[in-house]
């Protein structure tokens, strides 16, 4: 099939959902491509689960429409939609063996017996559980149950599989392994995956593209690197990874940014910026460099005081307080930490610097000043995430 004429796997147009007076999903448009690993990422309560349930048909939208593979499915019930879901609780049938769980859909759809056997065995091989066919779900570990649920979701070869925070119940180590496993399996079966999660690391690791949601709106749809390096809004910048936010004003020439109480700071100002308008600067902690403030202080840097430090294994995190009172986070890979940096005592004055390219200029959104507690807490929150 020609790439350009291929209809999107899922197309949402003006899709919205209200429960009573409470609008959970604001009208939104979204296109998910065939064969894509697409993540919907957002904090709990952002509407991502409701959005997913509208795609499956479990929830009826208040407005808008859902298209699967170019066909409108608004009038099609869940059981006839060509998609399967992997539930957060796995929802394996406890009275059936692993084999029968996986075979369920094929039996319901009256597939020929021989074909059922071949396809169930194939699906179990895909998730590497061939030897466990006769077990009951209760006799499996959490990770194995998850694989059975995945095998059950793909055995009928649906066009789309939706995964609802499937790794939430697993421990940290297993979760990391499963992230790569899921990606591998998705590539093997070539089915479009829609992965719903609140975990930004999962989304970054596995996705081809990510939609970031907040308060019922899709804020940005882009690849993981784009989402991380070029966040479109303050929310995206602080929700994905940790990020320092400084509120400032575009200078009179429209070429730099002035942070009140700090002065001019390096920033890459887009040509469209209006001189004198308020903006938010987003700077990743790993792109800030820090050194001790010597007796002869160079002018090119932002003065701050080192408040505290934490060792996280792979990196050191420093919290520094600007003269305005705002707190910024600086992180340095632990392998590269210079003796000079290690020698700086807590409470000592430091000098921060970053390249213009590292400071992304974002719309100011809510008008807050650099010294406001909001920006300090968001910087701290980002560091904690």
């Amino acid at each position: 099939m020609n790439e350009t004429t291929e209809p999107p796997a899922v197309k949402l147009t003006g899709l919205t959902k209200s429960f009573g007076a409470n609008r959970v999903v604001q009208p939104l448009d979204l296109e998910i491509r065939q064969g894509e690993f697409f993540s919907i990422l957002g904090p709990s309560g952002c509407g991502k689960t409701t959005l997913m349930r509208m795609i499956t048909g479990f929830e009826t939208p208040t407005g808008g429409s859902v298209e699967l593979d170019g066909k409108n499915v608004d009038a099609v019930s869940t059981k006839s939609r060509d998609l399967n879901m992997l539930f957060q609780s796995y929802a394996l049938f406890p009275h059936l063996s692993v084999y029968e769980n996986v075979a369920f859909e094929l039996r319901v759809r009256r597939t020929a017996k021989r074909e059922i056997d071949t396809r169930v065995r194939e699906a179990l091989e895909l998730v590497r559980l061939g030897a466990f066919a006769e077990r009951k779900p209760a006799e499996l570990s959490g990770g194995q149950r998850q694989r059975v649920a995945l095998a059950r979701a793909v055995v009928g070869r649906p066009a789309v599989v939706l995964l609802d925070e499937p790794l939430g119940a697993l421990d940290q180590k297993l979760r990391k392994e499963m992230q790569f496993e899921l990606k591998r399996m998705q590539r093997e079966v070539g089915i479009t995956f829609i992965y719903v999660t609140h975990d930004q690391e999962e989304a970054l690791t596995m996705s081809d593209r990510i939609a970031v949601m907040s308060e019922g709106r899709v804020l940005q749809v882009a690849s993981p690197t784009e989402i991380y390096d070029e966040p479109a809004s303050r929310f995206v910048a602080t929700f994905i990874g940790s990020c320092n936010i400084l509120d400032g004003v575009v200078d009179a020439e429209g070429r730099g940014v002035v942070v009140p109480g700090v002065g001019a700071v390096p920033a890459l100002v887009p040509a469209t910026a209006v001189p004198g308008s308020g903006v938010a600067l987003a700077i990743r902690p790993e792109r800030v460099s820090m050194r001790a403030l010597g007796a002869a202080a160079p002018a090119d840097g932002v003065r701050a005081t080192l408040v505290e430090r934490a060792f996280l294994g792979d990196e050191w995190t420093f919290h520094v307080r600007l003269e305005t009172g705002a707190v910024m986070t600086v992180s340095v890979p632990s392998g590269e930490i210079a003796a000079e940096l290690g020698a700086i005592a807590d409470g000592a004055d430091v000098l921060l610097s970053w390249s213009a390219a590292a400071a992304r200029v974002l719309p100011a959104e809510a008008a807050v000043t650099a010294a406001s507690p909001a920006s300090a807490t968001s910087a701290l929150k980002g560091a904690a995430a």
């Binding site: 479990f58 059981k79 539930f87 929802a91 406890p94 859909e105 319901v108 759809r109 009928g156």
Partner: protein, 260 residues
């Protein structure tokens, strides 16, 4: 202290089972009077099976019990499903309405049932007995099934729907197998409640449809006959039989659980 406890426990067991043991022993007593044990006999069992009136009552009770229990279980299942799974408006009201017969004195229910039946021109008989018994067994069946259903993960039926199952297939392949023990429990509880009921039956039984408890109660006037001991013994044996059957099936399932 521990010895005292264990003695109390033993006494409780004696207190619980002494009447049943006495019932069984005296059912084989050849004496006409119950305070003297004269020797072993099967005479009362023979007389029991010749007592057409008593057997007729047993049949009535069994029939009413089975029909009422089936109705209560089916209606109870549907009510429980609606109340637990569907977003029913006025859910709290319906739960209360279904459970109210549990707290209304049976004598009041009996009187009001009789009033309704006579004003509707419905003659007392099997039908009125069944209807009366459904009123008191339905709350029990609903409660048992509501408990079982709310402990079931709601995404199980969603998963079945997602995998292409119609509501009926979802019920047959997923919900029913998982709820089978509770459905059985609801049925048995309803049956025994109906089978042993006296108050409602007093008001709803008609001529020729006297239930077993009513018949036994009426013989009190002429004095209990040893024949009743024989009947009681047979009922105890039947009950134990059901418990064993259900219990063995459960045990087998538990033992068969971890297959290699």
């Amino acid at each position: 202290m521990e010895r005292l406890n264990s003695w109390i426990a033993r006494l409780v067991f004696v207190f619980l089972y002494l009447p049943i043991a006495a019932l069984i022993v005296y059912s084989f007593n050849s004496s006409e009077v119950s305070y003297r044990f004269d020797g072993f006999t099967f005479r009362w069992y023979a007389e029991l099976f010749r007592d057409q009136m008593l057997l007729e009552s047993l049949r009535t009770s069994a029939l009413v019990g089975v029909i009422a229990a089936v109705l209560a279980t089916v209606i109870g299942f549907l009510s429980a499903f609606a109340l637990v799974r569907l977003r029913v408006k006025g859910r709290a009201f319906f739960v209360g309405a279904i459970l109210i017969p549990l707290i209304v004195p049976e004598i009041v229910l009996g009187v009001s049932l009789l009033t309704v039946f006579s004003s509707a021109g419905l003659p007392t008989g099997i039908v009125t007995l069944v209807l009366g018994h459904v009123v008191i067994t339905l709350p029990l069946a609903t409660l048992v099934l509501m408990g079982a259903m709310s402990s079931l993960d709601p995404s199980l039926s969603e998963a079945a729907t997602d995998l292409g199952a119609s509501p009926w297939v979802t019920f047959r392949r997923v919900l029913f197998p998982l709820l089978r023990p509770s459905i059985l429990a609801a049925f048995l509880l309803s049956f025994t409640t109906s089978f042993s009921n006296i108050v409602i039956s007093t008001f709803t039984a008609g001529v020729g449809t006297t239930t077993l408890p009513l018949r036994i109660y009426s013989t009190l006037r002429t004095g209990l006959t040893p024949e009743l001991n024989a009947l009681g013994t047979l009922l105890v044996v039947a009950t134990l039989g059901v418990i064993l059957l259900v219990g063995v099936a459960q045990m087998r399932r538990i033992l068969a659980g971890p297959r290699p």
